[in-house]
Amino acid sequence: MLLALAATALVAIALLSDLILPRLDEGWRRLRARRRRLPRLDYDPGRELRAEQRARELLRSCVGEEEWTMYRDLGFIRVWGRQADGPEGSRRSGGAPYAYLVYPHRPIVAYLAQTHRLLGEYCIAFPDETRPYGSARLPDSDDVLAKWMALTGDERRLIAMANMHLPGRQLDPEQVRRDLWRLSQWERRRMRDAAHRPAASSADASA
């Protein structure tokens, strides 16, 4: 009797082992994973600030003086579009000059230069999957520089890779129009300053 029960138990265990063993194995792995000491990936504001400062210097050394001061003063860069009929996928420009506003970690906005009509938002990211500090996010100025390099280097490819949306999906169109107004004011001020500079320097020379 006892022998028969033992044999039945063995057969039952053998039959159930396919179900039980993977669960035991998974439980053991989970236990080990919980015990494993993971590297701490704390957010370090000092490190991020130093990275951003380096990124700003790199941006400054790559883009022109106008783009750099634009970014410093306004927080974005304008990049002129070069495709004959406007950016791919958006409302077409019909041959009119168009440009992009490049913000850090926000969509690129295409617009018509003369009327300020918004053409589209292009969502693009430059994720670093190595995640050196647990983050795939570049410093702000590096993100702007990456967009600037990709746009001026191969606009068509970047725009084709981006997720295109109608204006207003992420960026408030009123905010973008305000930025365009700020840009026009900024340009006027620059032109005024440039016009006054030679006069001022000649006056200095004569004095």
């Binding site: 370090d44 490190r47 991020e48 130093r50 990275a51 951003e52 400062q53 380096r54 990124a55 210097e57 790199l58 050394s61 790559c62 883009v63 022109g64 783009e67 969509p107 969502c123 693009i124 990211a125 430059f126 994720p127 670093d128 999957e129 190595t130 995640r131 050196p132 500090y133 983050s135 795939a136 996010r137 570049l138 410093p139 100025s141 590096d142 520089l145 990456a146 600037w148 390099m149 990709a150 001026t152 280097g153 191969d154 490819r157 970047l158 890779m161 981006a162 997720n163």
Partner: protein, 77 residues
């Protein structure tokens, strides 16, 4: 460019020296194999700045000061 780092110097050398050029080519390939994009900042004839995306070492102008590697673009949200 790297998150948390900003600019990181990968390699430097003189392309007119064979040993340096070989090392630069090797590093260039390693970065592209790792999935990064490469761009060379340039100034056009009018002094306007732009960049050139490069996929081969021989596409880099011989007088280029630097090549910048950055993560490949992907459609964002």
């Amino acid at each position: 460019m790297k998150p948390g780092f900003g600019e990181v110097l990968i390699a430097e050398g003189d392309v007119d020296l064979a040993a340096d050029e070989e090392r630069l080519v090797r590093e260039f390939r390693r970065q592209l194999d790792a999935g990064l994009w490469a761009a060379v900042p340039l100034a056009d004839a009018h002094g306007r700045r732009e960049s050139r995306m490069v996929q081969r070492f021989d596409e880099i102008p011989r007088d280029a000061e630097r090549v910048i590697f950055f993560p490949r673009a992907a459609g964002g949200r």
